[in-house]
Amino acid sequence: MGLDFNLNGISNEKKNVLDSDTLYDSIILGGGPAGLNAALYAKRKGLNVGMIAGHMGGQVMDTSSVENYLGFASLSGQNLMNKFEEHVKGYAVPTTTGALVESIENGSGLKKILADNGKTYKAKSVIISTGSRPRHLNVAGEMEYSGKGVAYCAICDGPLFAGRDVIVAGGGNSAVEAAIDLSKIANTVKIVHRSQFRADKILIDKLNELDNVKVYLETQIKEVGGEKFFTHVKALDKKSNKEILIMADGLFVEIGYLPKSEIFGNVVDTNEKGEIIVDARGETSAKGIFAAGDVTNGDYKQIVISAAEGAKAALSVNDYINKL
């Protein structure tokens, strides 16, 4: 057996953490592609910038393989984020990881950030790049069986379903990728989606080559059921308009993401999806508060787009600070 090691970059640099006595030009919330690129750009502009991240790398870390980031034909989400982190590390950005932001206090010149490590940090501006979390099906039984067969991270929980039968709910890239990955571990994989696939054709072709995967399109999950553990979903087959039961040991929900913006709702404007509304420069409705990446109302949630928005927000912050 060979051992793999997924050493995090910055998160292990204990020496250079955020200081609660310093007034920063900007504090970046979140350590995904948007946050890391914002840090790089802000630092290169000479700003005194720091970062708070729950875990470095963000959601990309849950992705087994990334094949659409320009310059890298194929690598794991973890490897791509390590490259990002290593790049930023060269600029010595004070970073506190493992801490979650609880709230922002928006003073006119001074923004206070309260974190769950009990500390308060101060900055003249903030870049919110907290990303998003998996969306739930919101059907009966889902929460009851969450952690009892219903899962939201295939790369985390997949190994617990070795040799068993699983369902993947969803039809986008993450769902099809999860189904492809799970097909290597599980006995069978059933992918269930309420309409047609939205995933890239190249992934669907790959999925169709697998003989332990069964596809249910135009099939809407109505209920999640089981006894002590999850055992089945009840779904509506839209073609025949009949209710069907699909049995399995595990259900992986991969139906997109929701912005992690709740705690900022009292400070910045959000849209009906809860996404933080930003203008073309990445500025929110609150002066001095900027946002970038999946947490914003940008249309496409992609690594390259988040990274680019992070750069844009950092440049806007630079203009903002220079005019203060």
Binding site: F5, L7, N12, S146, G147, A151, C156, D157, G158
Partner: protein, 215 residues
């Protein structure tokens, strides 16, 4: 080095530079057989070489059962981190802390050596106020990026309060135990073999759960 490549070794060496006090790794193996014991031993030997402040003692769980029971070791491979005076700090890893768990292992070493992350004084006080024995089990898989955070928080709490011991359990290595605790999502955090939390929870949630435990 057979396990850690040059690049990773160099990075870890740099991190270990900030260690303050010595740390002793007590590794428990089973000569009667244990699938991942050899790998665990090789990996720990390589870690030991990365800092003069780290030393390794290898025990057999059967031959040295007294030592095993002193440190509450029931599984193999199992790793207990002791301070420079051989004192148990309640920090244990069952199974190999490879994959993403290398991060919780490194953070455990730093914590025991006195170079850990700071918590607010209020939170530290709440942790220190817990006056009943608490065992925290954190079930993980090695491919899970959220898991090391949960493991490190449990370990941090154990370090601050001698009533608490915290152990990582690699769910694939210990399948039966994981089934017993109905682990089908990780990280799964179990307090005194009863109430549980799923996901990498804030440290507040850990403290709340411990405060609610009956004595």
């Amino acid at each position: 080095m057979a396990f850690l490549n040059e690049d990773i070794s160099k990075q870890i060496k740099g991190i270990f530079d900030s260690m303050k006090d010595d740390v002793k790794i007590a590794l428990f193996l089973n000569k009667a057989g244990c699938e991942s014991c050899e790998d665990a031993k090789g990996y720990m030997e390589e870690m030991t070489e990365l800092s003069e402040k780290i030393s390794l003692s290898v025990y057999d769980i059967v031959d040295e059962s007294a030592k095993a029971s002193e440190l509450g070791v029931e599984l193999t491979p199992s790793i207990v981190l002791l301070d420079g005076e051989n004192k148990d700090k309640g920090i244990k890893f069952n199974g190999i802390p490879a994959g993403h768990e290398i991060n919780s292992f490194i953070s455990g070493i730093l914590e025991v050596s006195g170079a850990g992350q700071e918590l607010s004084s209020e939170m530290t006080q709440r942790i220190k106020n817990i006056d009943k024995p608490v065992n925290i089990k954190v079930f993980v898989t090695l491919g899970c990026p959220h898991c090391p955070g949960a493991v490190s928080k449990a370990h941090k709490i154990a370090l601050l309060n001698p009533n608490v011991n915290a152990e990582m359990i690699e769910a694939n290595t210990f399948g039966e135990l994981s089934q017993k605790f109905n682990v089908s999502g990780v990280p799964k955090i179990v307090f005194n073999d009863g109430p549980d939390l799923i996901g990498d929870q804030p440290i507040d949630a850990f403290i709340d759960a411990m405060e609610k435990l009956s004595a």
